[in-house]
Amino acid sequence: MLDDRYALAHRLYPYARSADQDARGAVHHPVVIIGGGPVGMAAALDLGLKGIPALVLDDHEGVGEGSRAICFAKRTLEICDRLGCGDPMVEKGVVWNLGKVFHGEEKVFEFNLLAEGGHRRPAFINLQQPYFEKHLVDRIRAAQDAGAPIEIRGKNRVAALEPAEDGARLEVATPEGAYAITADWVLACDGAGSPTRKALGLGFTGKVFRDSFLIADVRMKADFPTERWFWFDPPFRDAGASALLHKQPDDIWRIDFQIGWDVDRETELQEDRIRARIDAMLGAGVEYELVWTSIYTFQCRRMASFRQGRVLFVGDSAHQVSPFGARGANGGLQDADNLCWKLAAVMQGEAPETLLDSYDAERGAASDENILNSTRSTDFIIPKSEQSRLFRDAVLQLSRHHDFARPFVNSGRLSQPCVYDGSGLNTADALEGGPRVTRPGAPAPDAALGNGFLLDRLGNDFVLLALGCDAPELPDLRVVSVAAPGADIAERYLGDAPRGLYLIRPDQHVVARWLEATPAEITNARDRAMGREATP
């Protein structure tokens, strides 16, 4: 019953008997995280670094094989920087900025993601998911050595979950039999097929797209540039209706073919069939090794609510998108980023439990945005009707010679962090002339600052950013002062305003900004952001 569902790339946490298995009753844990994928591990790390004990239960003993998610966005890297593991990811990853879109033989246009300087991190890196996960676990090991209360248990599968008003009771299966534990809080990070969601009988509704895609990761020495190449109706017609070529580390290339809905998976996954497609694309005589292949179909769907009392759904278990736009893993990391500071504040008695409803509200809105974007991309790539194909082809035709048509081309709108407009945690914008990009609810954009970068100065807690002015004195609120803002900061944070004060949340989203503010106004904004009644 504990058979592996997939082969491992790195066996990072072999099964080891825990004292809980020999305890008389069910041992209690403050937070149990179900699933040790990128989202679960990021959540464990974030909570552990805040001193909240986090227990990860994973039904495997390490990181699964296969590249799977490969595009990690700037915001994800910034979150990893905050957690202390951005560097190894960027060092290993392949940085890319240029994308080219082809229609048949012809290049329709190209785009450059690197529009703006003064950011520590690139717009995207490509990195195989196993590396991403391993860097997270390596960072957890270092945090554990420094005393962070994180525990990972491999080959521990949650077999049953009984939610209660004040927590949950879990039955956990291991190679040596089952044991029970209790928890105050449960984070279900167990993926799109979430057994937790199914066990609770919760719905997961949305759209299924009637096409399938073949992924082939191949190792080859090729001198293709480090760019994202996407073909609509590729000239190597027999290979697929669309195709993608993208570089990963270790001389691995991601190739993706749209192969139709009514395909026989087993046949299409045969090596000679896959090689026939790749040969058609690369031309005969190119030598390569097949590293990982998979066929996927996809859905865009979400749960009605990501919070079910003391059980919180995070990442793919809560919402699923098509892969166009790289919004799956990147969205999941932002979920964890949004949730962990709130959960820590609730558990430490600093905020009421209702603060967690804002996790559902904010990430629900983000998920709707991701689903909207990925659905639109999918509708462009896989036209559903004769008319939609007609317009799609018309856009591509026009785009060859006319720039105005190119913004209509949609081969994936790449992951951008959501702005939490309208969130109940925000305080009304009070910086006249301030740029839209830093309005309350927006993720704080990076900017060059001294010899470093602004985001590295913001840290892990609420912070008051004082730009070109003195900050009012407040107990327990760290201040980052920039007496003479440089060009980046002036452009991104001040706009037409002569100076400004920003209150920034632990997940680096702006919650309030002013031209000037009294200590009481700042305290009130912080109370609101913590879901507390304003201090009278």
Partner: protein
């Protein structure tokens, strides 16, 4: 900007003739593709999505 629903073309006959002559000699598929490119080009010219919304509303309601 709102959708102009009053007479706005100085020489309607000439405009209509331009439209028809553009389609002369084209197959059904070629004509459909031309129309699609024309619509997209005019949408770009209009720019304002609200005008498009109003126009779609008008043409959808007017099938009687």
């Amino acid at each position: 900007m709102t959708l102009i629903t009053t007479r706005n073309v100085a020489d309607p006959d000439a405009a209509y003739e331009l439209l028809l002559s553009a389609h002369e000699g084209l197959s059904k598929a070629e004509s459909d593709a031309l129309n699609a490119r024309l619509i997209l080009t005019l949408i770009n010219h209009i720019g304002d999505i609200e005008v498009l919304r109003e126009a779609l509303h008008l043409v959808r309601d007017d099938t009687g």
